[in-house]
Protein backbone atom coordinates (compact mmCIF):
# COMPACT_ATOMS: atom_id res chain seq x y z
CA UNK A 1 0.00 0.00 0.00
CA UNK A 2 2.80 2.40 0.95
CA UNK A 3 4.61 1.70 -2.30
CA UNK A 4 1.47 2.14 -4.38
CA UNK A 5 0.72 5.48 -2.73
CA UNK A 6 4.32 6.57 -3.20
CA UNK A 7 4.21 5.61 -6.89
CA UNK A 8 0.90 7.47 -7.31
CA UNK A 9 2.33 10.57 -5.64
CA UNK A 10 5.47 10.39 -7.77
CA UNK A 11 3.58 10.07 -11.07
CA UNK A 12 1.15 12.80 -10.09
CA UNK A 13 3.96 15.19 -9.13
CA UNK A 14 5.78 14.59 -12.41
CA UNK A 15 2.64 14.90 -14.54
CA UNK A 16 1.41 17.93 -12.57
CA UNK A 17 4.72 19.73 -12.97
CA UNK A 18 4.75 18.86 -16.67
CA UNK A 19 1.29 20.31 -17.24
CA UNK A 20 2.05 23.45 -15.19
CA UNK A 21 5.20 24.05 -17.26
CA UNK A 22 3.26 23.45 -20.48
CA UNK A 23 0.66 25.96 -19.31
CA UNK A 24 3.33 28.63 -18.86
CA UNK A 25 4.93 27.70 -22.18
CA UNK A 26 1.56 28.12 -23.87
CA UNK A 27 1.18 31.50 -22.22
CA UNK A 28 4.38 32.58 -23.94
CA UNK A 29 3.88 30.90 -27.31
CA UNK A 30 0.20 31.45 -28.14
CA UNK A 31 -0.67 34.63 -30.07
CA UNK A 32 -3.53 36.47 -28.29
CA UNK A 33 -5.51 36.85 -25.04
CA UNK A 34 -8.11 34.20 -25.72
CA UNK A 35 -5.77 31.43 -26.79
CA UNK A 36 -3.47 32.24 -23.87
CA UNK A 37 -6.39 31.87 -21.48
CA UNK A 38 -6.91 28.38 -22.90
CA UNK A 39 -3.36 27.51 -21.89
CA UNK A 40 -3.36 28.98 -18.38
CA UNK A 41 -6.99 28.32 -17.50
CA UNK A 42 -7.05 24.68 -18.53
CA UNK A 43 -3.61 23.16 -18.57
CA UNK A 44 -2.67 25.16 -15.47
CA UNK A 45 -5.70 24.05 -13.47
CA UNK A 46 -5.15 20.45 -14.56
CA UNK A 47 -1.55 20.65 -13.35
CA UNK A 48 -2.56 22.01 -9.94
CA UNK A 49 -5.23 19.30 -9.60
CA UNK A 50 -2.58 16.63 -10.23
CA UNK A 51 -0.26 18.23 -7.65
CA UNK A 52 -3.14 18.17 -5.15
CA UNK A 53 -3.67 14.46 -5.83
CA UNK A 54 0.01 13.92 -5.10
CA UNK A 55 -0.23 15.94 -1.90
CA UNK A 56 -3.25 13.94 -0.75
CA UNK A 57 -1.48 10.65 -1.41
CA UNK A 58 1.80 11.47 0.28
CA UNK A 59 1.37 14.29 2.82
CA UNK A 60 -0.95 14.66 5.82
CA UNK A 61 -3.32 16.81 3.75
CA UNK A 62 -5.99 14.10 3.59
CA UNK A 63 -8.31 13.14 0.74
CA UNK A 64 -11.29 15.09 2.06
CA UNK A 65 -9.51 18.43 1.91
CA UNK A 66 -7.88 17.57 -1.42
CA UNK A 67 -11.19 16.66 -3.08
CA UNK A 68 -12.83 19.84 -1.77
CA UNK A 69 -9.94 21.92 -3.12
CA UNK A 70 -10.14 20.12 -6.47
CA UNK A 71 -13.88 20.83 -6.71
CA UNK A 72 -13.28 24.49 -5.82
CA UNK A 73 -10.56 24.74 -8.48
CA UNK A 74 -12.81 23.11 -11.08
CA UNK A 75 -15.53 25.63 -10.25
CA UNK A 76 -13.24 28.67 -10.08
CA UNK A 77 -10.92 27.94 -13.04
CA UNK A 78 -13.45 28.25 -15.89
CA UNK A 79 -15.13 31.21 -14.19
CA UNK A 80 -11.81 33.09 -14.09
CA UNK A 81 -11.06 32.32 -17.73
CA UNK A 82 -14.51 33.49 -18.75
CA UNK A 83 -14.29 36.69 -16.69
CA UNK A 84 -10.90 37.57 -18.18
CA UNK A 85 -12.03 36.75 -21.73
CA UNK A 86 -15.19 38.80 -21.33
CA UNK A 87 -13.25 41.75 -19.92
CA UNK A 88 -10.74 41.51 -22.77
CA UNK A 89 -13.53 41.56 -25.34
CA UNK A 90 -15.22 44.54 -23.73
CA UNK A 91 -12.11 46.70 -23.68
CA UNK A 92 -11.61 45.90 -27.36
CA UNK A 93 -8.84 43.31 -27.48
CA UNK A 94 -9.72 41.16 -30.45
CA UNK A 95 -8.46 37.89 -31.87
CA UNK A 96 -5.43 37.70 -34.11
CA UNK A 97 -6.10 35.86 -37.38
CA UNK A 98 -9.59 34.60 -36.56
CA UNK A 99 -11.06 31.92 -38.81
CA UNK A 100 -14.58 32.99 -37.91
CA UNK A 101 -16.03 35.58 -35.52
CA UNK A 102 -19.74 35.40 -34.71
CA UNK A 103 -19.49 38.26 -32.23
CA UNK A 104 -18.31 40.62 -34.96
CA UNK A 105 -19.56 39.01 -38.19
CA UNK A 106 -18.50 42.01 -40.29
CA UNK A 107 -14.82 41.61 -39.36
CA UNK A 108 -14.49 37.90 -40.11
CA UNK A 109 -12.66 36.80 -43.26
Amino acid sequence: METILQLLALTAVIAGTFFSVVGMLGFVRLPDVYTRLHATGKVGVFGVVLLLVAAAAWTPLGWGRAILLIILLMVAGPVTSHALASAAFRIGLHMKQPVRDDLRPDKAP
Binding site: G26, L30, T35
Partner: protein, 160 residues
Protein backbone atom coordinates in the same frame (compact mmCIF):
# COMPACT_ATOMS: atom_id res chain seq x y z
CA UNK B 1 -38.02 21.48 5.43
CA UNK B 2 -36.58 18.75 3.22
CA UNK B 3 -34.29 21.17 1.43
CA UNK B 4 -33.22 22.61 4.82
CA UNK B 5 -32.21 19.17 6.10
CA UNK B 6 -30.43 18.48 2.82
CA UNK B 7 -28.49 21.75 3.06
CA UNK B 8 -27.49 21.03 6.68
CA UNK B 9 -26.34 17.55 5.64
CA UNK B 10 -24.25 18.88 2.74
CA UNK B 11 -22.62 21.62 4.82
CA UNK B 12 -21.83 19.13 7.59
CA UNK B 13 -20.25 16.77 5.05
CA UNK B 14 -18.08 19.60 3.74
CA UNK B 15 -17.04 20.50 7.30
CA UNK B 16 -16.15 16.87 8.07
CA UNK B 17 -14.19 16.59 4.83
CA UNK B 18 -12.25 19.73 5.74
CA UNK B 19 -11.44 18.68 9.30
CA UNK B 20 -11.10 14.94 8.49
CA UNK B 21 -12.14 14.03 12.03
CA UNK B 22 -15.15 11.75 12.51
CA UNK B 23 -15.56 11.96 16.31
CA UNK B 24 -19.09 12.52 17.61
CA UNK B 25 -18.19 15.89 19.12
CA UNK B 26 -16.81 17.09 15.81
CA UNK B 27 -19.97 16.01 13.99
CA UNK B 28 -22.04 18.00 16.49
CA UNK B 29 -19.87 21.06 15.88
CA UNK B 30 -20.34 20.55 12.13
CA UNK B 31 -24.13 20.41 12.41
CA UNK B 32 -24.18 23.50 14.64
CA UNK B 33 -22.00 25.42 12.17
CA UNK B 34 -24.25 24.33 9.27
CA UNK B 35 -27.35 25.55 11.12
CA UNK B 36 -25.55 28.82 11.88
CA UNK B 37 -24.53 29.30 8.24
CA UNK B 38 -28.08 28.62 7.05
CA UNK B 39 -29.48 31.08 9.60
CA UNK B 40 -27.39 33.77 7.90
CA UNK B 41 -28.69 32.90 4.42
CA UNK B 42 -31.90 33.99 2.78
CA UNK B 43 -34.32 31.05 2.85
CA UNK B 44 -35.20 29.63 -0.57
CA UNK B 45 -38.31 27.65 -1.32
CA UNK B 46 -38.09 25.03 -4.01
CA UNK B 47 -40.48 22.17 -4.59
CA UNK B 48 -38.79 18.79 -4.54
CA UNK B 49 -40.17 16.01 -6.68
CA UNK B 50 -39.02 12.74 -5.15
CA UNK B 51 -39.80 10.66 -8.24
CA UNK B 52 -37.36 12.76 -10.26
CA UNK B 53 -34.70 12.56 -7.53
CA UNK B 54 -33.39 9.16 -8.66
CA UNK B 55 -32.77 10.19 -12.25
CA UNK B 56 -31.35 13.50 -11.00
CA UNK B 57 -28.74 11.73 -8.86
CA UNK B 58 -27.69 9.52 -11.78
CA UNK B 59 -27.54 12.59 -14.01
CA UNK B 60 -25.40 14.48 -11.46
CA UNK B 61 -22.93 11.58 -11.27
CA UNK B 62 -22.75 11.31 -15.06
CA UNK B 63 -22.34 15.10 -15.28
CA UNK B 64 -19.41 15.08 -12.83
CA UNK B 65 -17.84 12.23 -14.78
CA UNK B 66 -18.26 14.15 -18.05
CA UNK B 67 -16.67 17.25 -16.44
CA UNK B 68 -13.67 15.32 -15.10
CA UNK B 69 -13.21 13.61 -18.47
CA UNK B 70 -13.42 16.98 -20.22
CA UNK B 71 -10.79 18.46 -17.92
CA UNK B 72 -8.31 15.64 -18.57
CA UNK B 73 -8.89 15.64 -22.34
CA UNK B 74 -8.63 19.43 -22.61
CA UNK B 75 -5.40 19.40 -20.61
CA UNK B 76 -3.90 16.84 -23.00
CA UNK B 77 -5.21 18.58 -26.12
CA UNK B 78 -3.97 22.04 -25.24
CA UNK B 79 -0.62 20.56 -24.12
CA UNK B 80 -0.27 18.85 -27.52
CA UNK B 81 -1.05 22.08 -29.37
CA UNK B 82 1.41 24.10 -27.27
CA UNK B 83 4.23 21.58 -27.68
CA UNK B 84 3.72 21.25 -31.44
CA UNK B 85 6.42 23.34 -33.16
CA UNK B 86 3.98 24.49 -35.87
CA UNK B 87 1.34 25.64 -33.31
CA UNK B 88 -1.70 24.26 -35.20
CA UNK B 89 -4.47 26.63 -34.10
CA UNK B 90 -7.40 28.05 -36.03
CA UNK B 91 -9.06 30.33 -33.49
CA UNK B 92 -12.59 31.61 -33.93
CA UNK B 93 -15.70 32.60 -32.02
CA UNK B 94 -18.91 30.68 -32.72
CA UNK B 95 -22.42 31.16 -31.35
CA UNK B 96 -23.93 28.24 -29.44
CA UNK B 97 -27.54 28.40 -28.15
CA UNK B 98 -27.50 27.23 -24.53
CA UNK B 99 -30.74 25.25 -24.81
CA UNK B 100 -31.53 25.74 -21.11
CA UNK B 101 -34.51 27.78 -19.92
CA UNK B 102 -33.35 28.76 -16.44
CA UNK B 103 -30.54 31.15 -15.55
CA UNK B 104 -28.86 28.48 -13.43
CA UNK B 105 -28.92 26.02 -16.33
CA UNK B 106 -27.36 28.58 -18.68
CA UNK B 107 -24.67 29.44 -16.15
CA UNK B 108 -23.82 25.78 -15.56
CA UNK B 109 -23.70 24.97 -19.24
CA UNK B 110 -21.41 27.95 -19.84
CA UNK B 111 -19.20 26.60 -17.06
CA UNK B 112 -19.19 23.13 -18.62
CA UNK B 113 -18.31 24.54 -22.05
CA UNK B 114 -15.40 26.51 -20.63
CA UNK B 115 -14.10 23.30 -19.03
CA UNK B 116 -14.48 21.34 -22.28
CA UNK B 117 -11.48 20.84 -24.60
CA UNK B 118 -10.56 23.91 -26.64
CA UNK B 119 -13.67 25.94 -25.85
CA UNK B 120 -14.20 29.04 -23.73
CA UNK B 121 -17.30 31.20 -23.36
CA UNK B 122 -16.51 34.85 -24.04
CA UNK B 123 -19.94 36.48 -23.91
CA UNK B 124 -23.56 35.50 -23.23
CA UNK B 125 -26.41 37.57 -24.65
CA UNK B 126 -29.94 37.98 -23.32
CA UNK B 127 -31.37 35.01 -25.22
CA UNK B 128 -28.82 32.63 -23.68
CA UNK B 129 -26.69 32.39 -26.81
CA UNK B 130 -23.11 31.69 -25.75
CA UNK B 131 -20.35 33.16 -27.91
CA UNK B 132 -17.65 30.57 -27.52
CA UNK B 133 -14.00 30.96 -28.40
CA UNK B 134 -12.75 27.78 -30.06
CA UNK B 135 -9.06 26.97 -30.32
CA UNK B 136 -9.29 24.73 -33.38
CA UNK B 137 -12.17 25.44 -35.75
CA UNK B 138 -11.32 22.58 -38.10
CA UNK B 139 -13.28 19.88 -36.27
CA UNK B 140 -14.99 22.12 -33.75
CA UNK B 141 -18.51 22.69 -35.02
CA UNK B 142 -19.96 19.20 -35.04
CA UNK B 143 -18.07 18.15 -31.90
CA UNK B 144 -19.19 21.25 -30.01
CA UNK B 145 -22.83 20.76 -30.97
CA UNK B 146 -22.81 17.09 -29.95
CA UNK B 147 -21.13 17.73 -26.59
CA UNK B 148 -23.56 20.56 -25.91
CA UNK B 149 -26.56 18.29 -26.61
CA UNK B 150 -25.28 15.72 -24.11
CA UNK B 151 -24.68 18.31 -21.40
CA UNK B 152 -28.05 20.00 -21.95
CA UNK B 153 -29.82 16.64 -21.69
CA UNK B 154 -28.07 15.95 -18.37
CA UNK B 155 -28.70 19.47 -17.03
CA UNK B 156 -32.38 19.28 -17.92
CA UNK B 157 -32.63 16.06 -15.92
CA UNK B 158 -30.92 17.70 -12.93
CA UNK B 159 -33.04 20.90 -13.02
CA UNK B 160 -36.38 19.89 -14.50
Amino acid sequence: MVSYVRAVLLLTLVYLALTSNLQASNIVVGVLLAVGVLALLRPQRRVTDWRAAGTAVVAVLRYIFVLAHDMVVSGMQVARIVLDPKLPIQPGIIAIPSGCQSELGTALSAHAITLAPGEMVVEIDDDGVMYTHVLDMAHAETAVAEAQELRVALLNKIFP
